[in-house]
Symmetry: C2
Subunit: 113 residues, 2 copies
DNA sequence: TGCCATAGTATCCAAAAAGATACCATAAGG
DNA sequence: CCTTATGGTATCTTTTTGGATACTATGGCA
């Protein structure tokens, strides 16, 4: 049965409109503060950033390090386990790129998506 | 910038809550009629099934073959291009399976998800 | 004394996605 | 005639997501 299909489990971790971008930035820089993420992703609200980070944290993809300072400082970085997700993200990225080309071949450049 | 990130392009094709299951069944049987899909996925409504199939068709993942009969007969199957998505789906499935185990190790069996 | 910065919450609201339900055309079979 | 089967559409409502805005605590600095 379809209950065996765990594609959605992987999907859950990536779905949320901001998670890929967040991971992209954390991956690129290694470690990022909350405010740095906000600056890198200007259109995201604090609420969204917080909720997406918390979900990724729950799934052990990123970890959250709080410095007991004022003003507060919180750093986010990939966990060791989270790094294991990267090959999958890359595969998805590559497939996505190729797919955009494919759509252009079918429908022509004018109607991307 | 994050505009280079095409993970979401891949995601778009799988997101929709029913698409993975639909692909799973089409992949398993090769070819399926609309009504067969309905029976295999009892909780889906016709509206959802139709819209998901149309999106997959737009992306050239499945094709739709209409038989000029009454009552109507329409068959869905993977396109050659669509078969190229399968390795990615399998990677996601495997990662998803492993991730469920991982969550169990972290949080214990009692709180799956 | 007042203002700034950080990393959030809390509330409320709008938009998007999904679900429920009803309807349609047509031919075969009884 | 009436019913059944198929592969949908059309409409309306509910649920889920996401966005806007305001607010908070605290220490440093002028």
């Amino acid at each position: 049965m379809a209950g065996d299909c765990k594609v959605e489990t992987a999907l859950d971790i990536l779905v949320g409109k901001w998670k890929p971008v967040i991971l992209y930035h954390i991956l690129g820089k290694g470690t990022l503060r909350f405010s740095e993420l906000q600056r890198l992703i200007p259109d995201i609200t604090k609420k969204m950033l917080t909720s997406q980070l918390r979900e990724l944290e729950y799934h052990d993809i990123i970890n959250r390090k709080i410095y007991a300072q004022i003003p507060p400082k919180v750093e986010y970085s990939l966990t060791e386990y989270g790094k294991g997700l990267m090959p999958l993200l890359e595969s998805m990225h590559h497939w996505g790129l190729a797919h955009i080309k494919h759509l252009n071949e079918i429908y022509g450049e004018e109607r991307a998506k």
